[in-house]
């Protein structure tokens, strides 16, 4: 017996750019809670994302505390492009394209360090940590008077800082960082402006065969998965069972940014008591009031930043930890996770130490919460690669909470839903994503 079908698998790779964009508009329906499976791994979709999101948006590159001294630098990536973030001899932060202006060699291959100059491994062009080209081997002999060094400095990438977070964009026409962040700033203050914060060490990095989007999607709206994905933690009694992760607010602040705020905290104040004056001084009253009641906060800054404040009871002490990670795309179906841990600079050494331990145990590469998420990201992404998904137009259901109305009585900005079991934020995230990748 044979079966025949006249139905064709949509050939996304054979479509023109405008046909592809039309196909996306026809099949991705965020407001109806319908997100088709193919978008989680199709190379054509990824191409659009790289071009229209990662080359255009503001991306996180470093925290100011990572380069406190003149000469300090870290290397980072944005849109597949390596950049050097330096604290230049002029006292300024520079985000420099890590591409030698002579013939394109990757200038610096270190993760971090302190250097006045960067010498290219290929022909030895020498650049200052401000980006200026200052030396060319045998310049007189090989170029005579024809080489104008002042025109051959490293390309400086547009950057700006909010809450000590250094953002950069490869898009010279991007709106200001202020405008891009918008109302999410109010919540970023809780994470990074509540006190002077500093990064501990360097980011941990690991690689997952899952799309970056699942990371952002999970961050912006999915408190619901904790019941099952992280069910082991409840079984161990580390968190109350059942719907502990439901209470609080889900908030969308625009431009693809949003958060889930877990409150109240049944365990009481999770931050160092010794810093209450600092918190009060740096936050407004409403913000401080939220901090007092906060159990956790999971923020997504579009496209690919996750900020997490989480608290737990470790060795008989209430302790919170704060981290920032990026879901860095490394292909249509893969990402590298980089995760930074931060602490209040003025906290006691014991507090810092315990906070670091709590982070490593729960959300570092070996974290007992962390581990289970990557199973979901991997298997969803790998499933979505089957042509069957395109053929049958398999769609994922994002309708949770569609019957709910936002509340008006929350003190912070944004579209606010009471309780966190909702997919409103994902619907908004994918609307923003779709608008971005289908923009002409």
């Amino acid at each position: 017996m044979t079966t025949t079908s006249t139905k064709q698998v949509p050939r996304l790779d054979e479509m023109t750019r405008s046909e592809l964009i039309q196909y996306l508009k026809d099949t991705v329906k965020p407001e109806e809670g319908m997100i088709p499976s193919y978008i989680f791994s199709h190379p054509k979709v990824y191409e659009l994302e790289m071009e229209k999101i990662f080359l255009k948006d503001w991306l996180f590159v470093a925290h100011k505390s990572e380069i406190p001294n003149i000469g300090d630098f870290v290397t980072r990536e944005m849109g597949g492009q390596s950049v050097i973030v330096t604290h230049g001899a002029d006292g300024e932060i520079h985000v420099l394209l890590n591409v030698c202006t002579h013939r394109g060699m990757k200038l610096c291959r270190m993760d971090n360090g302190n250097q006045k100059n960067f010498t290219c491994p290929y022909h030895g062009f020498n650049f200052k940590n401000t980006g200026d080209l200052i030396g060319i081997p045998f310049q007189k002999v090989v170029y005579g008077e024809t080489m104008d060094k002042s025109k051959m400095g490293l390309k400086e990438i547009r950057h700006d800082v909010y809450a000590d977070l250094i953002f950069a964009t490869l898009n010279s026409e991007a709106v200001s960082l202020e405008e891009f962040l918008g109302d999410i700033k109010w919540y970023l203050d809780l994470a990074f402006n509540r006190a002077e914060m500093e990064v501990v060490g360097l980011p941990q990095k690991w690689n997952v065969d899952g799309t970056w989007k699942l990371g952002s999607d999970n961050t912006i709206s999915d408190s619901y998965h904790t019941l099952v994905s992280h069910g082991s933690i409840a079984k161990l009694g580390l968190v109350p069972t059942g719907d502990y992760s439901k209470y609080g607010y889900q908030i969308y602040t625009g431009n693809g940014h949003g958060l889930n705020l877990g409150m109240p905290n049944p365990d009481g104040f999770a931050f160092p008591e010794s810093l209450i004056d600092e918190y009060k001084e740096r936050l407004n009253e409403d913000q401080y009031d939220i901090l007092k009641q906060m159990k956790n906060m999971i923020v997504c800054v579009s496209p690919n930043i996750m900020i997490l404040i989480s608290s737990m009871d470790l060795k008989g002490q209430k302790i919170s930890h704060t981290s920032l990670r990026i879901w860095k795309p490394t292909g249509p179906d893969s990402m590298e996770i980089s995760s930074w841990m931060l602490v209040e600079k003025n906290a006691t050494e014991e507090w810092k130490r315990l906070s670091e331990q709590a982070f490593t145990l729960t959300f570092g590469a070996s974290g007992i919460f962390e581990q289970d998420d990557t199973e979901n990201f991997t298997d969803i992404t790998q499933n979505s690669k089957s042509p069957y998904h395109l053929h049958e137009n398999i769609v994922f259901n994002y309708t949770m909470g569609m019957h709910q109305e936002p509340v008006e009585d929350f003190v912070g900005p944004g579209i606010v839903y009471k309780d966190k079991f909702n997919e409103a934020n994902s619907r908004a995230f994918f609307r923003n994503w779709l608008d971005q990748i289908t923009a002409e």
Binding site: R109, M110, D111, N112, G113, V200, G201, L202, P203, Q204, K205, W206, N207, V208, D209, V228, S229, H230, G231, S232, I233, K235, L236, L238, K315, E336, M341, E356, Q357, T360, L361, G364, A365, S366, G367, I368, E370, Q371, D372, T374, E375, N376, T378, D379
Partner: protein, 167 residues
């Protein structure tokens, strides 16, 4: 000399036994090999200039455990919701270049290489975690117990989806 060879043999056998227990998912058996004072850490490998060795950071730890937190990890594995290891990875630990660095009355400092092969689910590509171990073993009531393990991976960006396994 003779005593050195016996000690070398004893320590090697201990390390092989340990690997076997972990590869067989006998985490309780493994826990028995640990001293109550265990310190279990994994610093971050980084790309740095030759001149600024060591090329790792102790400020960032990928494991930072003691006997309480290791117990927690093991207990978690026993719940039927520890998805990261459901089904469990197939692991194969290859321990080599076992070098005894220091011997005192009841303690030895031993360095070794670990090549950990991890096959996950239906993946056709395997994860390899390679690195160096610095262990301290102490004789407690006649048995060698692990007092500290320090593991430094060779990758700066780990080629594995998580560290739901022990190193």
């Amino acid at each position: 000399m003779h005593e050195d060879i016996i000690l070398q043999h004893e320590i090697e056998q201990w390390l092989y036994k340990e690997s076997e227990l972990l590869d067989q998912l006998n985490f309780d058996g493994w826990y028995e090999l640990l001293s109550e004072e265990i310190s279990y850490t994994m610093p971050l490998r980084i790309n740095q200039m030759e001149k600024s060795k060591p090329d790792y950071s102790e400020a960032t730890l990928l494991f930072d455990d003691d006997s309480t937190t290791l117990k927690l990890r093991i207990d978690r594995m026993k719940t039927d919701m520890a998805w990261a290891e459901l089904p469990p990875s197939r692991t194969r630990r290859n321990v080599s270049n076992v070098k005894i660095k220091e011997v005192s009355e009841n303690e030895v400092a031993v360095h070794s290489n670990l090549l950990l092969y991890r096959s996950r689910s239906t993946d056709t590509t395997a994860d390899l975690i390679s690195g160096e171990r610095k262990d301290v073993l102490r004789k407690e009531n006649g048995d060698w117990k692990l007092v500290s393990r320090w593991f430094l991976a060779d990758q700066t960006s780990l080629g594995t989806r998580n560290l739901a396994i022990f190193v």
